[in-house]
């Protein structure tokens, strides 16, 4: 079989970082090639080179036997390449259909042909999800829905090479399966597909071959999936053995600490009540747009509740006052890293100390550089954040490492309740298991951990108790022992016949 | 005409005290004689034309204007004709496409060059009184060439100095960025720096504010009031500030032009023209008056202020 896409000793150097070091591998037409590797291994960088967004320092990309040099994204698009990026790139105030056809809208007599546009958009969306109206504005969609739009964008172009950079990180299982059937279809039509993911089970399900990256180099390529196991992959990625990434640890629960009562607000369709005890990890599961993020924002005080209360150890919190939540030890690690988490043009250190700096400071005003530096170093070490220095700007870190920095920001606080909204999205297996361990130890020291995730195995593996949300309300509660994949999914899926 | 008579009074720089006063006196005439004055600030050509339209729309029958640019004359005349409005100019006289004044439009004013010459004369006279030697005296001309009038004022003053044997090499141009005191201060400072040996300074500029700024600059360099002759233009509050100070300052005098005549008489003439069909004289030239510490009160009363 002929190699459709070929990387030939591609290297990319950023100041202070060698992101890619002489990468060579090839992908056949009609096959799905998985890219695996820790955070910061260089996967996204490679895809950006493929898409013309970066120009490689050396080496070249060959497509269909011809060496191609891209001077911009337009060249790559013209060469039949579509890349779905890890960070979503949509225009918020334009409609779904305009976003889908951005850069190549259909024309009639030189003017935009809206009718054709809607039709094309509707078709592309239909194969992924019937729920998105092509006329809605992106701003009104949930992250999951936006991710679907991003994927549909690539489908519309009918590209020869399609690269997915963690496309499922905010999709529910149902959407993932739909996506997979779309990928299978593309594969059948002879497309060359690159697939980046941190979810190993997906990789086994969809990929024909795999390349594992570490520190910008290829560790190993696997062409034969049948001989491959989870453990082998993990060992190659992380460089060490991880037996059970969840490695659940039993622990006693103390008295009730967080109590949410009849909370209502935007995005919720019924009052939400739940409570969490000291030492407990409470999981929240739901499909895209189930309302988990909105509920967490209400609990944290980032959004104004219509009614209801949040109390910690019996003390009622000041509604919609983030500062007071944090001072009372209630913190939220937000879902949308790019928009709500990072300060891209600030250093790693400034990002980590953003909130806790007030505690280190003298008179709450003059900052204490010594303490801040010590705190930064502690977390760079503890969470093994991959950065050349603590002064590096956050925008130059890989997606996963950015997530770790935000985690460090909240772990620096003196917390009693921590809400983690999709904390492992885009995080590699090794770090994931580290994050679980951190969650366990937080719980062991008597804190409440609220853990929102769209990954069912993760929720089942880590949570002591699982609350399931569906279309804006809490629809069920399962203890660790009763919870199974089927039971949870049954609660999460829309009722009767709609599926 | 039916209904009360209404005339427009358009000025180029409505923020300037001078024009505020013109308006005030035009209003006074209106009150006394029973007509309405519509006051519009028209800072550039486009605003002038819009204002004329506006006047026509509200039924005015004529207007007095100090144009932001004398070369606008033809288009103003044309517009006025189209809107059937009588027009006369004040302060600045219209200039036709041939570069000559448009004689057909009645005008009241005093030329900017004339004002400048008055300033120059006042300086020369006072230099004689103080007995300064030309060789020890420098002149700071705080200039603002962006404005035609400002340029003419400067040239007027310089021409008189030249005629009176003030060496051209001792007249230093100090271009300012803004026509306020701070602008005058910074511009003058540079000249002072460049000529540290000069003992006496004479100062003139666009208006009272800039001269005042330059005087402040000389004070900052340790010059006493006796070594500085600053003559401003306008006779506004700024000059009054200086004259009211307990001790004399380098701000020696200002050329006061009477906003009363310009405001009151032009408005009244326009009214007569409309009411009785009596066209005003084609050209009325007013005189500026030199005002200083000692004669301030008298001059003010004489000018009707």
């Amino acid at each position: 079989m002929q190699h459709y896409l070929k990387f030939q000793s591609v290297s990319k150097v950023f100041p202070g970082v060698k992101a890619l070091d002489s990468i060579s591998f090839e992908v056949n037409a009609g096959s799905v090639h998985g890219l695996l590797g820790e955070n910061g291994a260089g996967k996204s960088t490679l895809l950006k080179i493929l898409s013309g967004a970066y120009i490689p320092t050396s080496g070249e990309v060959e497509i269909d036997g011809k060496v191609r040099r891209f001077h911009g994204t337009k060249d790559a698009i013209d060469a039949g390449i579509a890349v779905i990026y890890q960070e979503l790139n949509l225009v918020p105030d334009m409609t779904v259909e305009e976003n889908l056809l951005l850069g190549h809208m259909p024309l009639r007599h030189g003017l935009i042909d809206k009718k054709t546009m809607t039709q094309v958009a509707r078709e592309a969306l239909a194969s992924l999800s019937g729920e998105i109206n092509p006329k809605s504005r992106i701003r009104t969609l949930s992250i999951g829905q936006r991710q679907l739009v991003e994927i549909a964008k690539a489908l519309i172009r009918d590209a020869k090479v399609i690269a997915f950079d963690e496309p499922t990180s905010s999709l529910s299982d149902r959407e993932v399966q739909k996506l997979f059937s779309v990928i299978k279809d593309l594969q059948g039509r002879g497309r060359a597909i690159l697939y980046v993911s941190h979810r190993l089970e997906e990789v086994f399900q969809i990929c024909d071959s795999i390349t594992v990256f570490r520190d910008g180099r290829i560790v190993k390529s696997f062409d034969d999936m049948s001989a491959l196991t989870n453990d082998i992959l993990i060992r190659n990625m992380v460089g060490r053995e991880i037996k059970d990434i969840y490695d659940y640890r039993e622990r006693p629960h103390g008295e009730r600490l967080l109590e949410v009562k009849d909370l209502t607000g935007p995005g919720l369709t019924a009052p939400a009540s739940f409570e969490v005890s000291k030492g407990e990890i409470l999981g929240f599961f739901g499909l895209v747009g189930a309302g988990r993020t909105e509920l967490m924002k209400l609990v944290f005080g980032a959004e104004k509740p219509v009614q209801g209360t949040v109390s910690i150890a019996g003390k009622v919190m000041d509604a919609s006052n983030i500062g007071s939540s944090i001072r009372n030890g209630l913190v939220l690690c937000p879902e949308d890293r790019k928009l709500e988490g990072i300060i891209p043009i600030s250093s790693v250190s400034d990002n980590i100390n953003l909130s806790v700096r007030r505690l280190f400071s003298r008179f709450g005003f003059f900052i204490n550089r010594g303490k801040e530096a010590a705190n930064t170093d502690k977390f760079i070490e503890k969470l093994s954040i991959k950065t050349p220095s603590s002064a590096q700007l956050l925008m130059n870190l890989s997606g996963g490492n950015q997530q770790k920095v935000i985690l460090a920001r909240w772990l620096s606080e003196d917390i009693r309740v921590i809400i983690l909204d999709e904390p492992t999205r885009g995080i590699d297996v090794g770090t994931k298991s580290e994050i679980y361990q951190i969650m366990y130890s937080l719980a062991e020291s008597g804190m409440c951990v609220v853990f929102v995730s769209s990954e069912l195995p993760e929720i089942l593996g880590v949570a002591d108790r699982i609350l399931v949300m569906r279309s804006g309300k809490i629809v069920g509660s399962l203890s660790r022992n009763e919870a199974t994949e089927e039971k949870v999914l049954k609660l999460a899926l829309p009722v009767s016949g709609n599926v | 005409a039916n209904g009360p008579i209404k005339i427009g009074f358009l000025v180029k720089m409505p923020e300037e005290p001078w024009f505020q006063n013109e308006w005030k006196f035009a209003d006074q005439a209106g009150k006394e004689m029973g007509f309405e004055v519509v006051k519009i600030g028209a800072t550039d050509g486009e605003k002038v034309l819009a204002a004329i339209d506006n006047l026509a729309a509200q039924g005015a029958q004529g207007f007095v204007i100090c144009t932001p640019d004398t070369k606008l004359g033809p288009s103003i005349v044309q517009k006025a004709k189209a809107d059937n409005l009588k027009v006369m100019s004040v302060d600045d006289r219209f200039i036709g496409p041939d570069g000559k004044v448009i004689e057909s439009v009645p005008h009241m004013g005093i030329s900017a060059t004339k004002i400048g010459e008055l300033v120059g004369q006042a300086i020369v006279d006072e230099m004689k009184v103080r007995g300064w030697k030309a060789s020890e005296t420098g002149a700071i001309s705080v200039s603002f060439y962006e404005l035609q009038t400002a340029k003419e004022r400067s040239t007027g003053a310089i021409s008189v100095l030249n005629k009176n044997a003030f060496p051209a090499a001792m007249i230093f141009d100090a271009p300012q960025k803004t026509t306020d005191t701070e602008g005058g201060f910074n511009a003058a400072n540079v000249v002072l720096t460049k000529h540290p040996t000069i003992k006496h300074w004479v100062i003139f500029g666009v208006n009272d504010e800039t001269v005042m700024g330059a005087v402040r600059a000389t004070e900052g360099r340790g010059f006493k009031a006796a070594d500085v002759i600053g003559v401003g233009i306008g006779g506004s509050g700024t000059a009054d500030v200086e004259f009211q100070k307990a001790d004399p300052t380098g701000f020696f005098a200002t050329v006061l032009i009477s906003p009363k005549r310009h405001g009151y008489e032009t408005a009244a003439n326009m009214y007569n023209w409309i009411k009785n069909g009596k066209e005003p004289e084609k050209l009325i030239l007013t005189a500026g008056a030199l005002m200083n510490r000692s004669n301030e009160k008298a001059v003010m009363t004489e000018m009707g202020l």
Partner: protein, 321 residues
């Protein structure tokens, strides 16, 4: 049945308010002024009003594109002045109106091109670039004209600014044509949609293969051309080219756009809104002059109107989210 109808009615009203809140405000304001300010609602005054907003109207169209793409242009006011002077000088020199007009517009194109190149390619902030350009062009205008107005000898040139067609002044007609043209450009062409996309999310536009730089350069070039054209019309109306005219004109255009709901952070803007913004500014100024409101108070009123108008728009948007 009747309850349903009320709901339907309510929805229509709400839809109108959401889509054209400023239009409603303008209409109410216009009616009130017509009722209470004598002479306002007369044919003459309407023509005068239209003439007085014609320049801001023209340039607001290109400014809309500029703002919608997330940029700024402060240089337009200097371009207006400079192109007037250029036209005057060239017409006097060659005696040819065509050369004069072409030369003036070409100068605008050139300046816009330089603006666009610096902003798009060299990635310098638009505010600073166009502010610097404003200074430079103002200076060149002063140098060329020696600081004073340049009278135009060929009187046939004045027809452009002072002529009428069906008793509507030609500048007004031009402005209406410009509005229609740019309305189509914004809504019906890829150029318009791509402009909005760039303003909404530059990175997304770039990754979608849109040549962001080229579009930005086109935006600024068009803006330069339009400002130059407005300058030519002005010179024709004024029968001379004036180097110091139109100070504050750029902020007038930006204010009009903002009043019309154009977002200063880019990505949002409609031509209808811009028209309404232009009309609000013109109407308020016109009414204040008719009412003989003293200049100093006019400053205050203008500022307050601007503030209240954007406030209202903001409130509306907050509700509809």
């Amino acid at each position: 049945m009747s309850a349903n109808e009320t709901v339907a009615k309510k929805n229509v009203l709400k839809g109108l308010w959401d889509n054209a809140g400023m239009l409603v405000v303008f209409i109410v304001m216009f009616c009130a002024i017509s009722l209470f300010v004598p002479f306002f609602f007369t044919w003459r005054n309407m023509i005068g009003l239209a003439l007085s907003v014609s320049m801001v109207g023209m340039v607001s169209c290109t400014m809309l594109f500029c703002l919608a793409s997330g940029d700024f242009d402060l240089s337009v006011e200097a371009i207006v002045a400079f192109s007037g002077v250029t036209a005057a000088v060239l017409i006097n020199l060659t005696g040819s109106i065509v050369i004069g007009v072409a030369g003036a517009i070409l100068s605008g194109v050139l300046i816009g091109l330089i603006n666009g190149f610096i902003i798009a390619r060299l990635k310098i902030n638009a505010l600073i670039t166009t502010y610097a350009m404003q200074q430079i062009i103002r200076g060149v205008g002063f140098i060329v004209s020696a600081g004073s107005a340049v009278g135009i000898s060929n009187s046939r040139f004045f027809g452009l600014g002072s002529g009428n067609l069906l008793s509507i002044p030609i500048p007004v007609i031009i402005t209406i044509i410009v509005f229609i043209m740019f309305g189509i450009l914004l809504n019906k062409t890829t150029y318009g949609r791509n402009t909005l996309a760039i303003g909404g999310n530059k990175e997304a536009a770039r990754l979608a293969g849109i040549n962001v730089n080229r579009i930005k350069i086109v935006i600024f070039t068009l803006q330069g051309a339009m400002a130059a054209f407005a300058g030519v019309v002005l010179a024709s109306r004024m029968t001379s080219g004036q180097p110091n005219t139109s100070t504050g004109f750029a902020m007038d255009c930006i204010s009009a756009c903002v009043l019309g709901g154009v977002s200063l952070s880019g990505g949002i803007g409609t031509i209808l809104g811009t028209i309404v913004g232009v009309l609000i500014i013109g109407t308020v100024q016109n009414a204040m002059n008719l009412m003989n409101i003293p200049t100093f108070y006019q400053y205050v009123v203008r500022g307050l109107i601007l503030l209240f108008a954007v406030l209202l728009d903001q409130l509306k948007q907050r509700k509809s989210v």
